[in-house]
Structures are given as C-alpha cells and as structure tokens.
C-alpha cells in the first residue's frame, strides 16, 4: 500500500482544522468509566471538514470505546464524561437525550463497524436497510424515492448490479460486499462526520484496498470529516493525514502521519512503529516487538500508562507525564521522549 502523496510536508500540522465554521468534531477531555475502572481518560481531538484522522492502538487501548462514546452508543454499563460537539448539532453529545442522539446519528454522524458479517439484519433485504436510514431522517420524500436512492448508493460504492443487490438478503453477499453496503448506509445522508472502526480488518487483503479507497472517496466527495480507527499503521498511513496514538485509554501521541511514522517521540509509538516493520530486526535476528502485553483494566501503572513495558522508564514515570506540544492535535505525553530526528531509522 502506498502513502498518500498529497500531504508531503509536515510543516503545517494543523492542516484544515481552521476551516469556515470551526471543526466538524470537537472532543474535549472525553472519559469512559465502568463501575470499577476508568477505561478512557482525557481524550481530546478535533477534526475539520475534509480532514482524515486516524486513531491507532492495540486491542484494549480504548479506540472503539472512544468512537462509541462520540456516538453515544456505549454499552449501558459504561458512562461517558467530558464533551463532544458536532457541527450542526445544538447539544453536547455526551449526556444528550436518546431522542436528540437518535436524530443526530445516521444524519450528522455515521459509523462503519468492524464486522460486516453481522452488521446487517439477516431477515431484511439489503435495499430496505439502506433506504431505512433515509426514511428515518426524512431526507427523501417517500418509500419510492428512498428505494431509488438506495440503488444509486449501492452503485456508488461500486457494487455490480446494484438493483439486484438491493433485492438480496445479506447472506447472499460476501464480506466485502456487505461492508460496502454498510458504507452505503453510513454515507446515505451525507454526514458531516464518518467514523470507521477497523472497517477492513475482517476482510481479505485483496478487498481491503478497495474498501479503503471507497471510504476515502466517499468522505472526499462529501467534504466530510473522517475518524479512522485501526491497529494497522500501514492502513492508517494510506487513508489518513493526521493520527492519534492511544494506549491504556489515553492519547500518548498525536501528529501528522509522516512525523509519527518516521520520527515518533513517545516510547510506545516508537515500539509500535518498530514492531510494524519487517525490515529491521533485533540482535538475535527476530522481528521487533514491545515486551510484555497490554495489562488488563485497572492494572495499568500509576503515572505513565506505558511505564511497565518501557525500556526508558525511570522513577520520574510514576508521575503522569504532561502533554508536550502546540495543540491537542500535535504533541506527546512522555517523560523520556525519543530525541527528535534520531532514535528510529527514517
């Protein structure tokens, strides 16, 4: 997979955040807690119109919870705190009523989930499932118009014979085809923000590139903001121009994709980048890994969440590291950052 060539320089990290009308999505100090543990803490980010932002991290780092909290779709046992503002919505999405959230979801913000095989209702025809999102928000005049629009959307996401697909049931389609249907549903009402949670992880490699291209083209055509969640650095590099790295429920580093991949500052990012390449190996000739594994909830060290797996950790790391950087969108939280320009082969 190739890197996008349109974002060559890392000199303007704020990119298009300051477009007319402010950011599309503005998340401030978002937290998610269960009855016992804090699962996501202090996540802040902004995404402007037409901007594509990645959220990277291992399983259990809090990426999906962050996305669900933005949508107000957390499991009922979890609570969100902080603030989520969306352009076009009058209310703060954290703490908004179910009625307000239902009006916002599918219209201003849409989500594509990881597992296409189970994301669609097996007993409803595909076309009706696409049409439904337009009928619910009354963005079309009626059933007939919705059905026609559904077929057009299915054609948009590159499905051959869209009229036949509209009449099919989900089990008659492949995983890649189903994910394209889910994308068609997500894009139907031209949302201001699209959230994709590992949209290609469950797909064959050959289909992945196709779906990623459809996601990129879909948001570009609508000048929508994109929050793209993945554990795969290569995928994020293909789609996004900015990226946030999450570990242990907090954002440990953020910045332009090139900067994060070539000159990471946080020790976790450094390990993640080293682990994702097969070109360098350690002294024994094995692929690089981060030692240890992600601790369970409530088992993260006090202070820096990465301290117990970090080779550079000292007693200073028992204190929570402050955010170092010009904004929430560029910076890192590490007491012993990798010196800029060194540490990792570029």
């Amino acid at each position: 997979m190739s890197r996008p060539s349109d974002s060559a320089g890392s000199g303007d990290p704020t990119d298009s955040v300051d477009t007319v009308g402010g950011p599309v999505l503005s998340v401030e100090r978002l937290g998610v807690t269960s009855s016992r543990y804090s699962l996501v803490e202090n996540v802040s980010l902004q995404i402007g119109a037409g901007e594509r932002v990645g959220l990277i991290g291992e399983s259990g780092s809090g990426k999906t919870l962050t996305a669900l909290a933005i949508l107000g779709l957390l499991p009922e046992t979890l609570r969100a705190s902080g603030s989520v503002r969306l352009r076009g919505a009058d209310v703060d999405l954290v703490g908004a009523s179910e009625h307000d959230l239902a009006d916002i979801r599918g219209r201003l913000v849409s989500m594509v989930f990881q597992e296409p095989m189970t994301a669609l209702n097996p007993t409803m025809r595909v076309g009706r499932q696409v049409a439904e999102v337009m009928l619910v928000h009354e963005t079309v005049a009626g059933r007939q118009e919705a059905d026609a629009a559904a077929v057009a959307l299915l054609a948009d996401v590159g499905l051959p014979e869209p009229a036949a697909v509209a009449r099919a049931y989900p089990h008659q389609l492949s995983g890649g085809q189903r994910q394209r249907v889910v994308l068609a549903i997500a894009l139907a009402n031209n949302p201001a923000l699209l959230i994709c949670d590992e949209p290609t992880t469950a797909l064959d490699v050959t289909v992945q590139a196709l779906v990623l291209d459809l996601v990129t083209r879909g948001v570009t055509a609508r000048d929508a903001a994109l929050l793209f969640i993945s554990h795969d650095l290569a995928v994020v590099a293909t789609v996004c121009r900015r990226v946030l790295v999450m570990y242990g429920g907090v954002v440990v580093e953020a910045g332009p994709v090139e900067q994060i991949l070539t000159a990471p500052r946080h020790r976790y990012t450094e390990g993640l980048v080293a682990a994702s390449t097969i070109e360098t190996t350690d002294a024994q000739g094995r692929l690089r890994t981060i030692r240890g594994s992600v601790p369970g909830h409530g088992r993260y060290p006090v202070g820096c969440v990465f301290a117990n797996r970090c080779d550079a950790a000292t007693s200073a790391c028992e204190v929570e590291p402050p955010w170092v950087g010009e904004s929430v969108d560029v910076g890192y939280a590490c007491h012993h950052p990798v010196s800029s320009g060194g540490g990792v082969d570029a």
Partner: protein, 317 residues
C-alpha cells in the same frame, strides 16, 4: 425452496407411516385379547371367537395393520368394540372441542408472553424486569391442573363470576361457550405463557446484543424502534421452535384439564376408552394425537421458511 418444501413434506409422510406402525405394534403387544376384554371375563369362548372373526382380529397382524392404516387414510376409523358406534364422527367431534381449548390457551400464552418477555429483556437490569422474570419462574413451577383448581376456587366458587365447569358448543350458545372456556383456557394458557415468557426474554436478550441492532441504532433508530423493526423477527426464530413444542405439550396436557373442567374433549374420550378397554378407540385417539403433533411440527418448519430468508434461498455465495 421448492425442494426443501418437498423434502419436508416427504419427511412428514414417512414419520406418519412409521408412527402409525409404532402405535399399532404397541397396542398389539399389550397383554390381553381385545375381544375378551370387550366381552368381559364371563363371555363364552365361542362368543369371543365370533367377535374376533367379526372384527378381523383373527387375521395376521400385518393384514390387520394394512387394513387399519388404509382405512385411516380415508378417515374411516372403524367401529367401537364396546358401543358398536362409528368412531370417526365421535372423534372428530371431541377433537374440535380440544382444539378450541388448545388454540385459545396458546393465544392467551402468546398474548401474555410476547410483551412480558420483551419487557423483561429490555428492562433486565431494572426491578420491573427482575419481577417479571421471577413471576414467570413461579408460573413455570405450577402444574396446569393446580392453576385450574385455584382459578375455579377464586372465580367460580368465591366470586361466582364464571361457571366452574362444563362445555357448550359455540353454535348452541356463544356467550355460555365463552364463559365456560375462560377458566380452563386460562389455566393452560397461564402456565404455558410463563414458560414462553422465559424463552421470549432470552431470545430478545440475545437479539439485543446483536451487531445489527447496534447498526440500527447508529442509523438513528431509537432503542425501541430498533428492536421492533430489526429485533423481533429475528427473536421469533427460537420462539417459534418453543411454540411448536408447547402446542404439542398442550394437546397432551389438555387431557388432565379436560378432566378438571368436565370438558368432553379428546382427552376424556381417551380416558373413557381406556376405562372401558375400548382398545380400537384408544389406538385411534393416540394416532390422532401423534398426527396432530407431527402436523404442528411440519407447520413450524414452514413458518421458519417464512421468517428466515437464509433458509429459503440457496447457500452463501
């Protein structure tokens, strides 16, 4: 689809043939000669022999079976050894009575269980959900005849709102028919409803955890709308299975309740036939019950096809 239908219909016919042979064989191996049983211990050997010839009981078993089965197919159930009357019309009449009882009980069960079970699932963390679950648990433990006696004590004996027992055909006196049907149908229906509530609850709970419900919510459907539009049809698949089994249980369970409420249904006919050793009637009624259960299962399978498109269309592409 057509192939599936043909296969399923074929399976029904084969099951019917096998079960009719089983019923016949079971009655044949029971100790006691039907003719002697019918005529009593004091009958002369000559009289018994005459009766055996008259009813063809002296023929080989296979011939008797084929004769019985071929007549069954034409709904000719033969004549009673005891009353010498045609069995067919009598059985049909009694079967109608039982069918009323069973169908109305089932309707009561469904009307109670679907909303309550759904409510218990949606509110499973709240006090209301726990109460519904607990009450249905108690309901499961109560036998229908006990519920029947309790209902009679309260509504017939103490409050005198409804008759304690009896049966009036709907054509004779519709109002009386309904009054007399309420208590027996309620005793059967309430218990079955309690069982069904638990299955509806767990089916809806399973469905609520499905990804497509989350997709529906992400599309902007409220939780209730997501459940109604996307959940209930999927939850119906396991519930229909249980419904079929329950309908079969009810057909058999009605035997006891018909006794409690003095209802002239298939159950009381069966018990009377057993009491008077009218073996041919026993055999016919048991066969009819088997037929009813098999047909219910067949209909449940057809219902699956209607509910779940994955069964209708071919394999996954």
């Amino acid at each position: 689809m057509t192939l599936r239908l043909l296969l399923r219909t074929g399976a029904l016919l084969v099951s019917l043939a096998v079960s009719s042979a089983a019923v016949f064989a079971f009655m044949a191996v029971l100790p006691g000669d039907p003719a002697r049983v019918a005529l009593g211990v004091n009958a002369s050997d000559a009289a018994v022999a005459a009766m055996r010839t008259q009813y063809g009981l002296d023929r080989p078993l296979l011939t008797q079976y084929v004769d019985w089965a071929t007549h069954l197919v034409r709904f000719d159930l033969g004549t009673s050894y005891v009353s010498k009357a045609e069995i067919g019309p009598q059985v049909l009449d009694r079967f109608q009575v039982s069918l009323w009882l069973v169908v109305v009980s089932m309707l009561i069960a469904v009307i109670v269980a679907v909303p309550l079970g759904t409510l218990a699932a949606v509110r499973h963390r709240s006090a209301l959900g726990v109460v519904v679950t607990a009450v249905s648990q108690v309901g499961v433990a109560i036998p229908a005849f006990l519920a029947g006696i309790a209902l009679v004590t309260v509504f017939a004996v103490m409050l005198r709102w409804l008759p304690a027992n009896g049966w009036t055909p709907p054509s004779a006196d519709p109002a009386m028919f309904v009054k007399q049907l309420i208590l027996p149908a309620l005793s059967l229906g309430a218990v079955q409803g309690a069982v069904l509530t638990r299955y509806v609850r767990s089916a809806v709970l399973d469905v609520l955890r499905e990804d497509y419900i989350r997709t529906a919510r992400a599309k902007g459907l409220t939780p209730v709308r997501a459940l109604v539009r996307h959940g209930l049809r999927n939850a119906a698949i396991p519930v229909v299975t249980v419904l079929g089994l329950q309908l079969a249980t009810l057909l058999i369970g009605a035997v006891v309740i018909e006794r409690v409420f003095v209802i002239p249904g298939l159950g009381s006919l069966l018990l009377d036939a057993v009491r008077t050793r009218d073996l041919i009637v026993v055999q016919d009624v048991v066969m009819l019950l088997v037929l009813a259960v098999l047909v219910v299962n067949y209909l449940v399978d057809l219902l699956y096809l209607a509910i779940d498109p994955r069964l209708r269309t071919g394999e996954v592409r």
